[in-house]
Every structure is written in structure tokens, then in C-alpha cells.
Symmetry: C2
Subunit: 477 residues, 2 copies
Amino acid sequence: MKSANVKELLSMTPKLQEVTVNGWVRTFRSNRFIALNDGSTINNIQCVVDFENLKDDILDQINTGAALRIKGTLVESKGKGQSVEILVNDIFVHGIADPETYPIQPKKHSLEFLREKAHLRIRTSTFSAIMRVRSALAFAVHQYFRQNDFFYFHAPIVTGSDAEGAGEMFRVTTLDDKNPPLNDEGEVDYKKDFFGKETNLTVSGQLEAETYAMALGKVYTFGPTFRAENSNTSRHLAEFWMIEPEMAFYDLDANMDLAEDFIKYVINYILEHCMEDLQFLEQRLLDEEKSKPQAERSEMALIEKLKFVCENNFKRVTYTEAIDILRNSKPNKKKKFKYTIDEWGADLQSEHERFLVEKHFKCPVILFDYPAKIKAFYMRLNEDGKTVRAMDILFPGIGEIVGGSQREERLDILKEKMAALGIDEAELWWYLDLRKFGTAVHSGFGLGFERLVQFATGMGNIRDVIPFPRTPQNAEF
Amino acid sequence: MKSANVKELLSMTPKLQEVTVNGWVRTFRSNRFIALNDGSTINNIQCVVDFENLKDDILDQINTGAALRIKGTLVESKGKGQSVEILVNDIFVHGIADPETYPIQPKKHSLEFLREKAHLRIRTSTFSAIMRVRSALAFAVHQYFRQNDFFYFHAPIVTGSDAEGAGEMFRVTTLDDKNPPLNDEGEVDYKKDFFGKETNLTVSGQLEAETYAMALGKVYTFGPTFRAENSNTSRHLAEFWMIEPEMAFYDLDANMDLAEDFIKYVINYILEHCMEDLQFLEQRLLDEEKSKPQAERSEMALIEKLKFVCENNFKRVTYTEAIDILRNSKPNKKKKFKYTIDEWGADLQSEHERFLVEKHFKCPVILFDYPAKIKAFYMRLNEDGKTVRAMDILFPGIGEIVGGSQREERLDILKEKMAALGIDEAELWWYLDLRKFGTAVHSGFGLGFERLVQFATGMGNIRDVIPFPRTPQNAEF
């Protein structure tokens, strides 16, 4: 008899059919009721055991975490909270879980405790819900772009170019670790390294994605990126997944339209496909916030917040307008900001972004047309000569979730920008080629996938939304 | 007026509607016919220019590779090969491409030449077709697993465990390259490195995927993996994308069923969605093979071969049966194999795999139940004590495309295997935990995505099916 998964069983009409299901024991109570879960859904199926028919040695093995194969009859449930249950005829124990040593017992564990057990935390309702939502979001990303005629582009992970300057990088090498070969100048001779040059882990696939956009029209990356920054915060990972669409013939307005439409699509997708997991996560967040003072609690419950994002236009505001708002804001005048906003040109800190999003506009905000000086070299200079066609999307509770721009498509201006910043043209000869041959208006953005998962699941620490987080001093598993 | 892409335009019914399209000039002939391509399809749209209405200085700028915005009237085409064309009213030149310096001229370029220009080769019909097929295959992967209740799992890329032994690894570090800190033993002090330990780029996400399968039931990875092997061949990359499904409660038979069903699904997907690109690639392969002797040409044309895979059962053969076939084969008896097959236990070389697939069975073959000694430590030992529940899928022209196994779920036997191979239990404490707590039969496989793209596109060199290949002495772009 073929086995069914728990999700399928829970949607069946009970007609006394014989069923087989495999899964892990979540709880076993009164020597009679096994709550079995197989990861297919947040819900367990209740398996009712007739004590008389169970051998004693099997009874001892039915503990939280044990893997079982259960055969039985699917019947209407008399209990609360489920429509069907299994009257058990036969139990096979795949593997036990000794209650003396198994760490994931049916009680409340702290997120910190579970982070140390990242290989087992996925067996909890919280983490299985997070990771199912994460998986659904990832699929929605691919589906959105496919439906909109984008091509998926795999950017290289190991890169020989270090010109983007998005952050500190990890070196990739096979040279002897203690005594690397040296060249005539007494420096490490990377010509003898695997790739014949110094190589690093990519911080962004954007520049390479531009090469593909300028031929395929619309492309996107979705892959790992890396930052060797010593940031031990709840918002930073050394290894994270990024989504970077890049579109030929898109100006900044089209870019903002796309980003907003994209985010709404993927959030809508999980509202349609992950409601049970989201309801669980919403309740988890409510419970967590009960211990906080009222002022620090979320204004909206999780699902309400997700719907709000889907149903409302993102507010589009120029950097210059934002500076005016901030300069005249109460916290600025009362010196409540750590960094007071005095004049145009200041870089915005997350306290300012949060004020704009959470206090002033109370909705997602797209800031655009930033000062050229605080943005990357490849962003298109406006006619005013001092701002660039950059945009950041700011989300409540998360801060910056998207950073993008129209790209500088004019060869002469791009070269000037690079020269001013000391970026070697020889390093980016291929990037300049795009401006020499068939250049055109084009745009793109980057979205940190884990930030999106945090927003979608209400998890406060980014280490809880990726299976095995990599952070300073931590690469376990 | 909103612009349409070329694919949309070519599917429209011409009704003298005004249209706008952006794209790049593929060819311009008779000062009258522009073949414009925007990457949305392999086909160009013909734009007919009335010479009298064109300013001379614009005419000079219309060369292969130039980026244009064209406005005009969509009419039925009088020419061959297209149903519609555009009578041009207006041309805007986004960017020129000087024919003296632009490398991608409308003539035959060798694949070797184009590899040096990996940022521009995507502007050719061949590479745009390959990368559209690659993108469609990637989407089909995600769609297949989603439809079959798998969850997408992002395996870590930077890993502190080096126990799998699948191949040589790249070190990831931020230590000083020339004078790394040393510990009391005089060795490099990795406690001072970014992650507080020695870290490498992953060779496989399997072991981590097992942790998720043992909670979510069915998961898959699809991400980059790395091998620091000095293999300068047409079959090896230092960085490649791998798909690794892992399923709780699946035995080897279920694993083989899944792998076969999966491959057929994704091949069928491109037959349904990429036929024009496949037809182009089929013709390219036919042209390429014209210069080869008859014996070296493919027996089937590309599309016929893809359909054959979808429509025929893969032949399942034990290693032991395969050894018998090989031992008694003509090339073995006539010493035509480089490595003669004398006895049971020999590792199969690609010459043997190709003989089985291309000469003996003439269809995809799944070999299973290999000698334990030539397979990895985590594969499940059979009752005979000498073979393991491993399986490899061999494809014509490609060789091994899938390698998988049922995993050893028994703690004691797994420990014995690790001890025999000198694998430190402390390194894999978390992997062993899976066997301590709720262990169960489980299985999985790995499929090299680029091998699949090679098979699907008929490309002989793996460097031509990934945007920016990484190989020994090469990490350009």
C-alpha cells in the first residue's frame, strides 16, 4: 500500500479507507494519542492507538522525535482541531529518539538554544513553518519572473573582479596556507593560484547580469552572495541569497514599478499558499510580543501587515523631500536621532528610514534620486549633476529591503565616475564594453532574500530565516 | 506608447497597429531591412525602413549590435520566414556599435573565440538559445519539485566540514595572505579567521539536506558547488550548479523512480516551451557534425534524442550485471578499452559507461548496487555486506548525469564505515545525530545542472552552457 503524506490525509474524506503514513512523533499522550508530523504541513495527524494491541516494547519507543510508519483506518475525528484521524492497526518504528538525550522536547525552547541545534530546529513547528514559507517565496520569485518573460541568469560566485566595492570580501584560494609562493616583489604570487589571479566570493551578480540584460532583455539572478563584514547583528549574514533583476530599456520609473509589483506578487503568493503556516507564525509573534511594552509591539498582526503591503501603493518620495521631512521632524529637533539630519547630502541611517516608514508615512516607501556622492559609481547621473537615479525600498520593521538604480549607460560619464573613485578601467573592461557596443537605458535592483523572509514570517533575527547561518565566528554544520 | 517585445509582436495579428519595440540590430541589409532582436525569442522582427525618410547620420549608426528603439506600423510580411514586419516611422539610436571594433559581427565565430568574449557571446543566436533553454530547465526544476510537495532548501556555500570527500576544495579566508597568524604549533591559526575555523566552499549540500529531509520529508537543493580539481576538460567546471533532492522514507527503488520521472519532466518542459530554440540548436549541431566522419556523428538529431529520453524507460542494471556485460564485450576482449575489465570490484571509467549506454543498451541506463569500496561512506550497505544501495544514471554523450543512493540510516554501521575511512565523528556530530534521533530509511541524488543543459542543447563543451565558466587559470568577468 502506497503511503500518503499528512497534508493529503488531512484533506481526505474519511471513508474507513486503509492508509499508511510515515512521520515523526510530535507528542504522545495518554498512551493513546500520537500526533504525527511529516513536514508536509504544520498540522499533525492524530493516530489513535488501542493500548491492548500494542506490544510493550513498542510502546516504550513511541517518544517525541521517533520516526514511525503507521497503518490504520481513516475515520472522522471525534476530537477537536482535526477532521480526520487514524485508528492504528500497525506501527513500525523506523528510529527511536531517547527522551533523555533528544534535545527537541515538546516544550518551549528559546530561539538562541535552537540556533545551536540548527540541524534539529527544523523539527519544531516554528522552523518548519518558516522554511516552508521560505520555499514558497523562492518559488514565487521564479514564477513571477518566468511569467514576465525574464530569464534566470546564474551569476558567477567566484569572481576575479573586486571593483564593485559593495563590501569586504572573502578570498578563495588553493595556495599553501602557511607558505604561499611569492613573486619578485615579495608579494603573494596569485599567478600560481588555482585561477591564476586573486579571486573572491561575489558580493553581487549585478555587473555580470547587466551583460546578459544587454542581450536577453530581461534577466534575474537568485543566488548566494557574501560579505566579510564583522557585523554581529540580527540583520547581517556573511552568506545570504540575493535576487537581482536587470532590465534593458527600463528607466527608474519602470524599475520602481517592477519592484513594487514583484514584492506584492510574492507576498500574495504566500497569502494564497501558506495561510496555515502564516497563522501559526502570527500567533507566535503575538505570544512573543506579549512580554514587550505596548509601544514596542507591532502595530499590525503579521497577516494584516502582509495584506497591507499588497493592497496599498508604496509611497514614492525623493531623497530631497525625505531630508526636508526628517529635518523638520520632532526627533530631529529634539535631538532624539543618534545622527541629527542637518543638511542635504547626509546618508540616511536606519533610524531615519524607520522614522519615515513607521512614523511618518506608515507604509512602504520608495526613496529615489539620491546624492551621487553616497551611491555607487554605476548609477545614472541626473541632469542636475548631483543626484543619481537610485532608489531604495524601505519596509516597516526591516528597513531597506530593495536597493536599485537606473545604470549609467553613457561611456564617457561612467569613465569619469570610475576615474574619480580610482576604479581601474582594466578591471572592468568588459563592463565598459557594454557602453561601447549597443548601449541603452537599463535598470535593476537587488533584494536580500532573507530580509524578505524575515518580513514575511515576522522573525526578528535574520539567523532564524536561513537554514545554516554564516556569521562571524560561526560556520558550524 | 508602451513597447512590446519581439516575441509578443511576432504572435500578433497585423492590423496596421502602431507599435514600439526596443532591441539590437542583428543584420541590416540593402539599407532597408533591419533584423531586430531583443532576446525574448530566437527570432528577429524585420523592420522595413524607407530610405528617403532616414537621415544620413542615423543610417550610418545602424550596424550590427546597435541598440534601437523603433516605432512603426505592424503589417503582414511579404518576405519569407516571418508573418509580420514593421514599417518604420521613427528610429531612435540608444547606442551604436562600431563595425570596426565590435567583435560580434554577422559571420561564423568559433566557440573558442566566443569563450574569450563571454560578456558578448550571449548576443549570438547560439548562446541566447542555450541560455533561454538553461533558464527554462531551471524553472522546470523548481516547478517539478513544488508540484511534488518538495521544499527548496538553501544549503550553505561556506562550510566548516570537509568530511564528505567528494573532491578537492577551495579555502575561504580573510586572514592576511602573506603572513597569516600562527598558533603554538606553528600552523595557521584558523581560530583567528573570519569564521573561527578553517572553511571551504561546499562540494555538495547533501549532508545538510539530509537534516532537512528528516523533518520536512522531501527537500531539494539547487545551488552552486565547487571542485578545486585541476581538470582542464570539456566536462569539468570548478564552479557548477547542482540539484540535490533528499527524501525521507524513500528507498533506492523510489529514488530511481523519482530521478527518472524528474528528468523526463524537465526535458518535456523544454520540448513544450523551447521548441524554436531547440530547432536552432539541432541545426547547429547538424552543421557542426557535417565535418565529422559518419561514425562520430550523433545517431539521433537533438529533438529526436530528447523525445527518446522522455518516451522510453531507463534500463535498470546492477553493477554486477554490467561487469558481466563489459567483461564479455568485444572491446574488452580485443583490449580496446584503456582499462580492461577483469574482475568484479573495478571502478567503471567513462569509456565503459559510454559502451553500456551508447553501444549495448542504446538508452539511458541506471546502474545500481555498486561495490561498497568504490562508493561514499554514507551509502547504505546491502545485506550481502559488500555492495551499497548506490545508483548512477548514465546518458548517451554525457556519461554520468545523476549519482545517488539510499543513505545509511543505521548509526552503528555508519560509525563503522566512518572509522574505517578515518572520518572524525566529531566533525560530523550533527550528521550522526540524524541516526540517533528518529532515523529512517531515506535517499537522494545529485544532478549536475550543466550536464543536463549540455544534454538538452547538444553542446559538447560544458564551458558553453554556463554564463561565465570558472576553470583552472580562468576566472575572468
